[in-house]
C-alpha cells in the first residue's frame, strides 16, 4: 500500500483529509507541523506528501517542501492551501521556473473534491 504523508497544523483538517485519502486506498501518516514532519522524514520515506502552506510560519509548507526535495527528490509533493482565495496571491506551479523555487509538484486548493484529489494523486504516482 502506498504511503501518503499529510502535514497540517489544523487538527480537524488533518483528520478530514486523512479520512479522505484513506478511503482512496492509501496508508496515511500525519504530522501537525513543519518540525515534527522533518523529524519523521529522517527515518521514513513516503510515496507522496501533502503539506499545508501556513503552519508554524507563513512559509512553513514551502520550507518543508524544499527540505524534503533535497532528501527525497523523487517523492511528489502537493501543497494544499486556501491562501489564494484569501490573499489574492497565487502560487500555482505551472511553469518550470516556479516549480524550481517552490519545490512542489502541485498546488491544490483545500476545498478539493475527493475524486479530483484521487485523480491528481494517481497522476503524480503514475498509477
Amino acid at each position: 500500500m502506498k504511503k501518503v504523508l499529510i502535514v497540517d497544523d489544523d487538527m480537524d483538517y488533518l483528520f478530514q483529509l486523512k479520512t479522505k485519502v484513506e478511503k482512496l486506498g492509501f496508508e496515511v501518516i500525519t504530522a501537525d507541523g513543519q518540525y515534527e514532519a522533518e523529524q519523521m522524514l529522517e527515518s521514513f520515506k513516503p510515496d507522496l506528501a501533502i503539506f499545508d502552506l501556513m503552519m508554524e510560519n507563513e512559509d512553513s509548507g514551502f520550507i518543508l517542501s524544499y527540505k524534503m526535495k533535497r532528501r527525497y527528490p523523487d517523492v511528489p509533493i502537493i501543497i494544499a492551501t486556501a491562501v489564494t482565495a484569501e490573499t489574492g496571491m497565487s502560487f500555482a506551479v505551472h511553469s518550470e521556473e516556479e516549480r524550481k523555487w517552490i519545490k512542489a509538484d502541485l498546488y491544490m486548493d483545500k476545498g478539493i473534491r475527493a475524486d479530483q484529489l484521487h485523480r491528481e494523486i494517481n497522476k503524480l504516482l503514475k498509477i
Binding site: E36, M55, A82
Partner: protein
C-alpha cells in the same frame, strides 16, 4: 523638532523680512504633537521665483501675495493646484476683493491673511496652518505604514476566520455522506469537534470586536474611579472553572483597595486575557500569581505563572496580532492570537507599560504599569 518649510512670496522686501523676523524664533506645539514645529523661511520677490523655488525645494506652506510684478499670486496658486502639489497656500493681500477670495479658495487656498497684519495675527494664523500641515504629514505617514499592516492583518484574519468554517464544512460533509453509517452516536466526536470550532470562532469574533472598538476609539469609555481589587476578584472568579479544568491554581495576592481612574470593562479585558493565558500555557498542578501594588503614582500589576514559558524569539513577536506561539508544548491550546495585542492596545491608551519576562519550562511574568490618575 519638526521643521516646516515656509515660502514667503511678496514683492515688498519689508513684508518678507518682517515675516522672517516674526517667525524665525517662533515655534508651534500642540499636545498631540510629538515635537514642536519650527520654521525654515525661504523668500521669493516674484511669482516666477516662487515657482522655481517650488520646483526645486517643495515648501510645506506658502504665504502668497496676490499683487506681484509679473505673474499674479492667483496664477502661482493655479500652478500649485494644477500640479497637485502638497502645499498649504495662504493668501496675503490687501486687495482681497471678494473675487480674488472666491477664485483663490476654488483653487485650493487654505486661508487668508489680510494685509497689513500684526506679528500676533501672523503667529496665530501660523498656528492653525501648522496644525493643518502636521495632520497632512501624519496622514501621509499612516497611509504608507498602515496600508501594509492592514493588508497583512486582513489576509491573516481571513485565514483565521476561514479555517474553522472549512473544518466545520468538512465535518458536515462527512455526516451528509454518512461516512460512519446511520447511527447518530458514531458521529459524536466530529460533532464535538465542530462545536469546539464554533466556540473558537465566536471568541475570535468577540476579540475582534474588542479590538476594533479600541482601535476606532468609538466605544464610549466610562472612565471613573474603580477599585482594581474588585475587578481582579471578578476576573479570578470568572476564570476559576477554566483553572480547575486545567488543574491550575490562581492566587490573588493583594487585599487592600486600590483605586484608579479607568474604564472597568477595559481593565477586566486586560485581567481576563492575562489570567487565561497564564492558565492555558501552564502545566498540570501549576500556579498563577496575581498581584496588584501601588508604587508612587503608578499601579503595578504582576501576573506570573510557572508554566511552559517561551523563548526570546517568541517574546519579541508576542504583542503582534495573530501571533500564536506554536510548538509541541502549545499543541492543542486554542486562542484567537489577538488577546495580547488587545491588552497592549488598552495599556497604551492609559499611557501605561507592559513588559514580559519568560524562560522555557520555568514560566512567564507579565508586568503592567498604569499611571494612577492619567484619565
Amino acid at each position: 523638532m519638526e521643521l516646516i518649510k515656509l515660502l514667503v512670496v511678496d514683492d515688498e522686501p519689508g513684508i518678507r523680512s518682517g515675516v522672517s523676523r516674526v517667525l524665525r524664533d517662533f515655534s508651534v506645539s500642540y499636545p498631540f504633537m510629538e515635537e514642536a514645529c519650527k520654521f525654515e523661511i525661504i523668500e521669493a520677490p516674484t511669482g516666477e521665483d516662487a515657482i522655481e523655488i517650488i520646483n526645486n525645494n517643495l515648501p510645506d506652506i506658502m504665504l502668497l501675495d496676490n499683487k506681484l510684478p509679473g505673474i499674479q499670486g492667483i496664477e502661482v496658486l493655479e500652478y500649485v493646484s494644477k500640479n497637485h502639489l502638497d502645499i498649504v497656500v495662504v493668501m496675503i493681500t490687501s486687495y482681497a476683493s471678494l473675487e480674488v477670495a472666491v477664485k483663490a479658495t476654488k483653487n485650493g487656498a487654505f486661508d487668508f491673511i489680510p494685509k497689513p497684519f500684526t506679528p500676533q495675527e501672523l503667529r496665530s494664523s501660523m498656528e492653525t496652518i501648522t496644525k493643518q500641515v502636521y495632520f497632512r504629514r501624519m496622514t501621509k505617514k499612516l497611509n504608507t505604514a498602515g496600508k501594509q499592516i492592514r493588508f497583512q492583518f486582513l489576509s491573516v484574519l481571513s485565514h483565521e476566520l476561514k479555517a474553522p468554517l472549512n473544518a466545520i464544512e468538512g465535518y458536515l460533509k462527512m455526516i451528509e455522506e454518512k461516512q460512519y453509517g446511520d447511527n447518530v452516536v458514531d458521529y459524536h466526536e466530529i460533532v464535538e469537534r465542530s462545536l469546539a470550532r464554533v466556540k473558537g470562532m465566536r471568541s475570535l469574533i468577540m476579540d475582534l470586536l474588542d479590538l476594533t472598538k479600541i482601535e476606532s476609539g468609538t466605544s464610549a469609555r466610562d472612565i471613573k474611579e474603580v477599585n482594581l481589587m474588585e475587578i481582579a476578584q471578578i476576573s479570578v472568579d470568572a476564570m476559576t472553572p477554566f483553572a480547575i479544568q486545567n488543574d491550575v491554581n490562581v492566587y490573588l495576592n493583594s487585599h487592600n483597595e486600590i483605586k484608579i481612574k479607568a474604564d472597568a470593562r477595559e481593565i477586566e479585558i486586560i485581567f481576563n486575557n492575562l489570567i487565561s493565558n497564564a492558565i492555558k500555557y501552564n502545566k498540570a498542578g501549576g500556579r498563577v500569581d496575581f498581584a496588584i501594588k501601588l508604587k508612587d503614582d503608578f499601579v503595578v500589576i504582576t501576573i506570573s505563572d510557572n508554566g511552559i514559558g517561551m523563548s526570546e524569539d517568541d517574546m519579541s513577536r508576542l504583542f503582534n496580532e495573530f501571533v500564536r506561539i506554536k510548538n509541541q508544548k502549545t499543541k492543542g491550546i486554542s486562542g484567537s492570537g489577538l488577546g495580547l495585542s488587545i491588552v497592549k492596545k488598552i495599556v497604551d491608551t492609559y499611557e501605561g507599560d507592559i513588559t514580559v519576562t519568560s524562560a522555557p519550562d520555568k514560566g512567564t511574568t507579565f508586568i503592567i504599569t498604569l499611571p494612577k490618575n492619567k484619565n
